[in-house]
């Protein structure tokens, strides 16, 4: 299988996506996607994740089912998604119309020494998502493809899946808050209001 070298910069990609977030709820996977979301600007409706590898898509599903009128964007890494592949099937069966799963795919385990992931060798995550019943799925290599996909994340009926191929270029660390209870409570306060959040 011939490899196509990614050229997009992950920080630029995530910043472009989040520029249009409106009142969407953002669920980043642990590691670099969490730093990318923090770098794009702090927001209480981003649930920064520092653990629970393999769970981001399913956290997105639970949130999407609880908040059917809000858009939910899972923004995670290829390694994180590969750890929870079964969740593609679970989401495919549930068909949440308000959920987009976006993989910032650098084809490597970036936090552990840049070992290649399966996507580097051609494992096609969008094809898996499509086979699992996602309504739409695709791969993005260029900024013009990205421009076409961004409005879909917020408006097109889901579940949708997009793998965005990015370079392994190191981005400066931008670390958000890491107290899980505080991140959780801040998210619920912003979404549900203080009285509901602590009932």
């Amino acid at each position: 299988m011939k490899h196509r070298k990614p050229t997009l910069d992950r920080r630029v990609v995530v910043a472009e996506i989040l520029k249009q977030r409106g009142d969407a709820l953002i669920m980043p996977g642990l590691g670099a996607p969490t730093w990318d979301c923090a770098a794009a600007g702090d927001n209480p409706l981003t649930f920064y994740s520092w653990g629970g590898m393999g769970g981001a898509a399913m956290m997105g599903l639970g949130l999407a089912l609880a908040q059917p009128r809000r858009r939910v964007l899972v923004i995670t890494g290829d390694g994180e998604l590969l750890m929870g592949l079964g969740s593609l099937a679970t989401i495919g069966v549930q068909q949440p119309r308000n959920l987009a799963v976006i993989v910032i795919d650098n084809e490597h385990y970036g936090e552990t020494g840049m070992q290649p992931t399966h996507t580097r060798y051609g494992v096609d995550l969008p094809a898996m998502a499509r086979a699992a019943g996602f309504r739409s799925a695709g791969t993005v290599y260029t900024s013009s493809q990205l421009k076409t996909w961004i409005p879909r994340f917020y408006r097109k009926p889901g579940p949708m899946f997009c793998s965005i191929k990015v370079t392994t270029e190191d981005a400066p660390l931008v670390l958000p808050a890491r107290d899980g209870t505080a991140i959780k409570n801040r998210f619920r306060e912003a979404l549900l209001g203080i009285s509901e959040a602590y009932k």
Binding site: L25, A56, L61, G62, A64, A66, T90, V93, Q94, F187
Partner: protein, 175 residues
């Protein structure tokens, strides 16, 4: 008689306790002991019943549900507890409430030896990752135990697992 064909009263008692607790999302990996309850949840239009491929999916899903303002429950058999451990670390660290109901395999009258190791490890591993474990071995006490566990989980922000004894469910019959 096979366990999955039995009709008993306590699963409906759990269902009513979950309704009273305001549970809206039910995530499960099937178990024969939970089959009546799973059926009742699928028949309820106010409940989103979600079948999983592995139990840890449910741990993550119910964390997401809580962020979105909904309460949930995770149903599994005891062999699934081991599949959840790292994800339960997130529950502990973020103080997410999590209600789990486990039907035990591998102890009372078990025939399948491969069920025994995880069964014996269920309580120690759940304790080790910070889950409050509440075993129940009488059918008449299951519903009230679930109610109490729900109150503990949702009011204090903790993971609570109700373990239903194989003595109540009956060991799986291999015939």
């Amino acid at each position: 008689m096979k366990a999955e064909k039995q009709t008993v009263a306590w699963p409906l008692g759990i269902y009513q306790a979950l309704k009273q607790a305001g549970v809206k999302q039910v995530a499960y990996v099937p178990d024969a002991g939970h089959s009546q309850l799973i059926k009742a949840c699928h028949a309820d239009r106010e409940i989103k019943a979600v079948c999983l491929t592995t139990e840890e999916e449910g741990v993550a899903m119910l964390a997401g549900a809580w962020l979105g303002g909904e309460r949930g429950v995770l149903l599994m058999q005891s062999s699934g507890a081991g599949n959840c451990i790292n994800m339960l670390g997130m529950i502990a660290e973020c103080r997410f409430p999590l209600l789990m109901i486990l039907t035990m395999r591998g102890h009372w009258g078990e025939f399948n030896p491969w069920q025994v190791p995880m069964s014996q490890a269920t309580v120690p591993v759940l304790n080790a990752i910070g889950v409050v474990v509440q075993p129940v071995d009488r059918a008449a006490e299951i519903a009230e135990t679930v109610s109490a566990a729900a109150r503990l989980a949702f009011s204090t922000g903790r993971a609570v697992a109700v373990l239903i004894s194989q003595r109540v469910i009956g060991a799986k019959q291999f015939k």
